[in-house]
């Protein structure tokens, strides 16, 4: 053993001599290796950290460790980053209880959360609608004998103010384009509503006047937006138990057994909040959190421009008193004598880097208290209209119980794009039957005198004639004939808005009935692969066609991000080390050719060929090990610094990938080991050809040389 060590020592001494003898070459080769190994350490540490953070984001928000859905589905399940409004076309799983029971037999499974993903356009109502609804309510109360005269007058003032804003708008449009740009009917309606007579006559026929305003004026106010909402129907209790990063931000969670809707805080801010206020928030965040400036950032400039041009949304909310209040406050704040409040608001929103913070503060302290910042408020009822699977429109009214966010992912749209609703309402919107609907259909059937008939006997039932003599070859469904239930369900869906906001349901329904997919939380995440196979096997055993996919796949394109980054990293590393391999190889070949006499001498005095190969391998490994070691150490240092400082998430996508505002990458032994392993393998490989050359050197070379 000792002899081997001494021999190795000689080999090492000779190898190092060669490195020092051609130090420039060594430095160039070493530099490349150093950079490569540094890149591997930093790169793999970053990718691993992003992978871990992202998996935390995805697993902790909505995907769980594993998603299970019906294997016969047309599409693949993608719970995140899908561009389809309605989500993937998944075949239903008829009985969640059976699915849950099957999955829970797998030892590594901790819990299964029922889910269904879909999307809907939700009319959020415009300001005029809201104001008119309030006025109608007051009129009703007055008719019922309540003394609400002052309130009615104030509300009337407000509506007149709105009509005034619309009238000014129409006059502007007329100036910019021409009178024809506005239809005569619309113009006439606005003129009529602006006329003092209309308002003096209002009290004579308040309901008739309201009808006119609702039908002819409200549609002219273009601030009504449809909200595009993607939502997950689920068992809220199981959901919040399994996804412990979920927290209620405003309001409360949906009580057990109640129907309801929870806005994602992100959606609530992005879509429901007053646009000017939301842009002001974005401007402030970009400056404070990401260090951007309005002066340099075109995106921020665009936001400022939009805000200065879109003050109507605020104007429509103001009654006469508030207009005066706003005028005074704004004149003082921006030092202007302008009397037109919409112009004052435009000027107020024309912020720059110098005044943004002050104006932001002023907006929330002085103006916002007089405004309705959110079009839908906690406690409001939301009418969700969705297309069912069979294509008809189903509407359900749901109470908004609150907003929620996933801790650490508040600013991420990927984590925040999905809202939550109870599973029972989801099933109804998706066109699945619920006990309530079944009851409703039964009632309609009973009142219409309908009964179920066998498809084969339809003719005889309809036209009489006893037994069907052609029944044997008459099994085909007659074209155009559908069963009564489908017909009724469709009719009911088209005809009726289902007012379910206050309805309770039996919580047991959550555990039964239809779901589209289920999120599985596992006990040991390292065993995901095995657990997926076990789940599919358990499904098969229970007669279910279950398909299990891991969180990465379930998250769609988002989950592939890390794989993509990893591929880019590995390709870069491959290129760098391919270059290193060629350069080391060339350097060693040259060194070998320069040392033919020495190698010949070694052969002559008794060195076997493998000794020479070993000498060159050691030489390459020495360069690789030394510079690879320094590179890895530098890489580890960089990762340590990044860990201490944190890499800021520049936008909401990175926010999601980093699972928070900053990524604090961690370094594992594997990162360094991979770097060193690559370096050593490449070094050893690059010494193979020079080694072969050296082994071919004849000991005769020793006899032919001069020192």
């Amino acid at each position: 053993m000792r002899g081997y060590l001494d021999t190795l020592k000689v080999i090492v001494v000779i190898a190092f001599r060669n490195l020092f003898a051609s130090w420039l070459k060594t430095l160039i080769v070493g530099g490349i290796i150093l950079f490569g190994s540094m890149l591997v350490v930093v790169g793999t540490a970053l990718v691993d950290s992003v992978d871990a953070s992202m998996s935390r984001s995805i697993i902790g928000s909505v995907a769980g460790h594993i998603q299970v859905y019906n294997a016969t589905s047309k599409d693949e399940l993608a719970v995140m980053g899908s561009f389809q409004m309605e989500g993937a076309d998944l075949a239903q799983i008829d009985d969640f209880a059976a699915m849950r029971n099957a999955i829970m037999t797998v030892p590594n499974v901790k819990d299964v959360v029922p889910m269904g993903l879909s999307g809907a356009m939700v009319p959020a109502g415009n300001t005029v609608d809201v104001m008119l609804e309030r006025l109608r309510d007051l009129v009703r109360r007055q008719q019922a004998g309540q003394d609400v005269k002052t309130a009615i007058e104030s509300q009337k003032d407000h509506v007149r103010q709105i009509v005034g804003v619309l009238s000014a708008d129409f006059s502007n449009i007329g100036k910019i384009f021409n009178e024809k740009a506005v239809s005569a009917d619309e113009l006439e309606a606005v003129r009529r509503a602006s006329a003092p007579d209309f308002w003096t006559e209002f009290d004579k026929d308040p309901l008739g006047s309201l009808e006119f305003l609702e039908n002819r004026i409200a549609p002219l106010a273009s601030d009504a937006d449809m909200l595009f909402l993607r939502y997950v129907g689920t068992d809220l209790a199981a959901f919040s138990r399994s996804f412990d990063r979920m927290k209620i931000v405003d309001g409360n969670t949906i009580p057990p057994g109640k129907r309801g809707f929870l806005f994602s805080k992100w959606v609530y801010e992005q879509q429901v909040k007053l646009k000017t206020a939301h842009r002001l928030d974005d401007l402030r965040d970009a400056i404070v959190k990401r260090g951007k400036t309005i002066a340099k950032d075109p995106d921020l400039q665009r936001m400022v421009k939009l805000n200065t041009g879109e003050v109507k949304e605020i104007m429509l909310q103001l009654d006469n008193q508030q207009v005066t209040l706003f005028r005074d406050k704004l004149q003082k704040e921006i030092g202007s004598q302008e009397t037109d409040v919409s112009r004052l608001l435009s000027a107020f929103f024309r912020v720059d880097d110098g005044n943004i913070m002050r104006r932001y503060q002023f907006f929330y302290d002085q103006l916002a208290p007089s405004l309705t910042l959110y079009r839908v408020r906690v406690g409001d009822t939301l009418t969700i209209k969705a297309f069912t699977r069979s294509g008809y429109v189903q509407s359900v009214n749901l109470r908004v119980y609150g907003t929620f966010a996933f801790e650490g992912l508040e600013d991420s749209h990927l984590a925040g794009e999905l809202n939550l609703m109870d599973m029972v309402s989801f099933r109804e919107l998706y066109g699945f039957s619920t006990p309530e609907r079944d009851k409703e259909i039964q009632a309609i059937k009973a009142s219409a005198g309908l009964k179920d008939i066998d498809r084969d006997k339809v003719e005889s039932e309809l036209f009489g004639g006893g037994a069907d003599e052609n029944s044997a070859d008459n099994n085909e469904k007659p074209a155009g004939i559908v069963d009564a239930e489908t017909a009724l369900r469709g009719l009911a869906g088209r005809a009726k808005l289902v007012k379910r906001e206050n309805e309770a349901y039996d919580p047991a329904q959550l555990q039964q009935g239809v779901v589209l997919n289920g999120a599985v939380i596992v006990k040991d995440p390292r065993l995901i692969r095995q657990t997926m196979a076990d789940i599919e096997a358990a499904g098969k055993k229970a007669g279910l066609t279950l398909k299990a996919i891991d969180w990465q796949k379930a998250s769609g394109l988002v989950g592939q991000f890390v794989t993509m980054i990893r591929a880019v990293l590995y390709i870069s590393v491959l290129i760098i080390f391919a270059v290193a391999l060629v350069i080391i190889n060339n350097a060693l070949v040259m060194a070998t050719l320069e040392r033919m006499a020495e190698i010949g001498t070694l052969r002559a005095v008794g060195a076997q060929r493998r000794f020479l190969l070993g000498m060159l391998v050691v030489e390459a490994l020495a360069v690789g090990g030394l510079f690879g070691g320094i590179g890895s150490a530098l890489g580890a240092g960089i990762v340590a610094i990044l860990r201490a400082v944190g890499i800021p998430a520049y936008n909401d996508i990175f926010y999601f990938f980093f699972s928070g505002p900053r990524l604090h990458p961690g370094l594992s032994v594997t990162n360094v080991a991979i770097a060193l392993a690559i370096v050593l393998v490449v070094s050893a490989m690059s010494s193979i050809y020079p080694g072969i050359l050296a082994m071919r050197v004849s000991p005769r070379q020793a006899m032919q040389s001069d020192e």
């Binding site: 000792r2 001494d6 000689v10 006499a597 005095v605 006899m703 020192e707």
Partner: protein
């Protein structure tokens, strides 16, 4: 006495492109143990080729070479290398020391390759040789810090450290001045006498012949004769040998 080297009807051809150049043409030679044999001849006569064949660094095209009873023409490269390591010591015209290693390490190198001697034994053997060749005080020097004579002493010590039966020296004094050359020859002769090591060296320096027990004379790849040192000196150096009939292309280096 037993033969340490036995060369029988050896031919050695080298191929240069399409030309076949004969370097040795039917040489036969026996060398007894303990001899101090000089191989003489002008440049291109085949001295180095013969030495290469005896030193197992080359194999004959035809004929047989036996070294210490081993038929080299049927041995593998690995076996030949082992034979060189354990049986033969080499002294080169250009010393061929490993420049990065110290004097001590250069001498120790063959022992390390043998992997048979423990560190302590290696040290004692190297030190004994350092004393013997008179360069003890230079043991930590690099070859570049030594004179030509000192380097050749290191080379001699390296050749002898494995206690070989045979030492081959290719023009050992060619790169040395006459005084140093004489000293080196004295040293080799003394080692031959005391260690009973067989020495075969190639030279075309007539002064060297005087040290030899016998001189083999080569010309044009053929063995002319084998004479005593006195006879060789009497015949008169290289000039006393038959004129080279070397033709263009014959290579004996």
């Amino acid at each position: 006495m037993k033969n340490i080297v036995s060369v029988k009807q050896v031919f050695k051809n080298y191929t240069l492109g399409t030309f076949v150049v004969p370097a040795l043409r039917g040489v036969s030679l026996d060398v007894e143990e303990g001899e101090f044999l000089a191989i003489a001849g002008p440049s291109g006569s085949g001295k180095t080729t013969l030495l290469n064949l005896i030193g197992c660094v080359d194999t004959p095209t035809e004929g047989t070479v036996q070294v210490a009873g081993n038929p080299t023409n049927v041995m593998s490269d690995r076996q030949l290398t082992r034979l060189r390591l354990h049986t033969i010591g080499f002294i080169f015209q250009s010393f061929n020391l490993v420049s990065v290693l110290s004097v001590f390490q250069n001498i120790e190198l063959p022992l390390l390759l043998q992997r048979s001697a423990a560190a302590k034994e290696r040290r004692s053997r190297v030190e004994a040789l350092l004393d013997r060749v008179g360069i003890r005080e230079y043991e930590n020097h690099r070859p570049s810090e030594l004179s030509g004579g000192q380097r050749q002493r290191v080379a001699i010590a390296r050749a002898l450290v494995t206690r070989p039966q045979l030492v081959l020296a290719d023009e050992p004094t060619a790169n040395l001045d006459s005084v140093t050359g004489t000293n080196i020859l004295d040293l080799m002769k003394e080692l031959n006498r005391t260690e009973k090591t067989t020495f075969i060296f190639s030279t075309h320096d007539a002064r060297v012949w005087a040290y030899a027990s016998s001189v083999v004379r080569l010309a044009d790849g053929q063995l002319i004769d084998r004479v005593s040192a006195e006879e060789a000196v009497r015949v008169g150096g290289v000039g006393g040998l038959p004129k080279s009939t070397t033709t263009a292309g014959v290579r004996t280096t």
